[in-house]
């Protein structure tokens, strides 16, 4: 192994005999390893507290804290450090005790320097391996968690749309039945019936509940992908314009200003226009909801070499920091039950990942919120 490699090993040599330390250090230095020195266990532990080390070469027989005790203390506090023990010729049992307490190996004095160098290198390799393993473990854990998250979302998505499908039909039957009952009770023949109002009240509650359930199923179905969902050239401005048309009433009621900052040259993307419109719908209705009277929404586009970034910005109430991580979760909402389902952003996020787009959000409470969508640019080679 080359010198550069040996240079990297952070080495601490602990022995109470100064002469021995000096000789060993000099010899190690010749082989490219420059150890830090300590004369007893206490000094050794003091150095370790402030200076990170890889390998400690530790004499067993020292005044003060014994070598074995020092070893135990090192292992307790610094699990990544490897310790090589130096024992007297007669005290082999010390070495064995040492291994039991976690030493990497032991050498008997007098020490053969090449032997020591080899041991140090082996110990260092073990450390590297251990570090690799730890890194890999951390990485795998992260990956697994991410996979569980994605899987959870995907299966949740599939399941919830399935349920939404199945629920809409019975819901429709309940709806028509309740509606029919209302018609019957409201007819002139029933005008003398004294309990009429009570029945109508009950039916009204049924109808209100149907509306509430419908809101949920419809939002969930908003992202069902048609089998032959088509990518094509899509004009962001036109799509936004259409979507705002659907929200006309709310915009007028709150007198919201729409600022168009869309460069017609940075406006064409390659995507599925239907699904994009759904995303815009969800984001714009959230923006409108976050605004008071006379608020504004700013729509702008930017360009990178491959993408167009669409920004939908409002100067509304903003999102508190602690909620930012949750807004894309299904059913997360801060709105009263008859106004929010907590599915808008979940669906938007799902659609966009399906389209290979990214969505980001920045927000300041009291100042406003900005959603950025990164979309692949349209160029003729797409077709």
């Amino acid at each position: 192994m080359d010198r550069v490699y040996d240079d990297k090993i952070r080495l601490l040599l602990v022995d109470d005999e100064e002469g021995f330390r000096r000789t060993i250090s000099k010899r190690l230095a010749k082989r490219g390893m420059i150890p830090v020195q300590a004369s007893d266990g206490e000094e050794c532990l003091g150095i370790l507290k402030t200076t990170p080390m890889d390998v400690v070469v530790l004499d067993v027989k020292m005044p003060g804290i014994s070598g074995i005790d020092t070893l135990r203390l090192i292992k307790q506090e610094f699990e990544n450090i490897q310790v090589i023990l130096l024992t007297g010729n007669v005290a082999v049992s010390d070495g064995i005790d040492g291994i039991k307490s976690g030493a990497f190996d032991y050498l008997t004095k007098p020490v053969e320097i090449d032997h020591l160098v080899n041991k140090i290198k082996q110990a260092f390799e073990i450390i590297q391996l251990e570090k690799e393993k730890q890194k890999e473990r951390g990485y795998r854990e992260k990956l697994e968690k991410k996979m569980i998250d994605t899987e959870r979302l995907v299966s949740l998505g599939t399941m919830s749309t399935g349920i939404a499908h199945e629920i809409n039909n019975p819901l429709a039957i309940i709806n028509e039945s309740a509606g029919f009952m209302k018609q019957v009770i409201s007819s002139p023949e029933m005008s003398m019936f004294s309990q009429k109002d009570a029945l109508l009240l009950g039916i009204e509650k049924i109808e209100k509940s149907i509306k509430r359930a419908r809101k949920i199923t419809h939002e969930l179905l908003g992202h069902v992908k048609k089998q032959d969902s088509q990518f094509s050239q899509a004009n962001l401005k036109a799509l936004l314009y259409e979507t705002l048309g659907l929200l006309k009433r709310e915009i007028k009621n709150k007198q919201i200003n729409i600022n168009w900052e869309i460069d017609p040259k940075k406006n064409m993307v390659w995507s599925d226009p239907y699904q994009l419109r759904q995303v815009m719908m969800n984001l714009l209705s959230n923006a409108i909801h976050a605004l008071g009277e006379n608020g504004s929404i700013t729509l702008s586009t930017r360009e990178t070499s491959e993408d167009i970034i669409l920004e939908i910005k409002d100067d509304g109430i903003g999102i508190p920091k602690e909620n930012l991580g949750k807004i894309f979760d299904p059913f997360f909402t801060t709105k009263p039950f008859d106004e929010g389902t907590g599915l808008g952003l979940f669906v938007a996020h799902k659609i966009l990942s399906g389209l290979g787009c990214k969505i980001d959000v920045t927000s300041t409470v009291g100042k406003g919120t900005c959603f950025q969508i990164r979309l692949p640019k349209y160029d003729k080679s797409n077709e």
Binding site: N169, I173, N175, E176, F180, L221, Q278
Partner: protein, 146 residues
Amino acid sequence: MIKIPIKILIVDDEKDFVEMFSLRLKKQGEKVSTAYNGKDALKVLETVPIDVVILDIRMPGMDGIDTLKQIKTLHPIVEVILLTGHGSTETAVEGMKLGAFDYLMKPADFKDINVKLENARKRKDEQEERIRQAEARLLLRRSGDF
């Protein structure tokens, strides 16, 4: 104001839905026929005059879309409103490209249904009127030729 009944055909395989929905429409004075599948719907259209078909499009089989195509080929003047318990608005938009007048998602709001029914009927009347005028012009021109 006297209500002129709209002649409606409801097509859906959910029998309970068809039953209640038609009771409701009848109660408000419409003339309602029913069918539980596309084939029967086409049979009804052969024999009964219909203004508007309310047609359920089922996602997997797409037979709702097929039925729509057939209706628009055989009876182009009849308006179709799509009703969907499944699928997204995309399917509905595709349906509209194939000539459907409008679409509703189940469960639909009765007021919405009524507005759309009324508009569909209006469009059918206008179409018929235009055809009558065109025929009249044609007749006139022909008689002018002689």
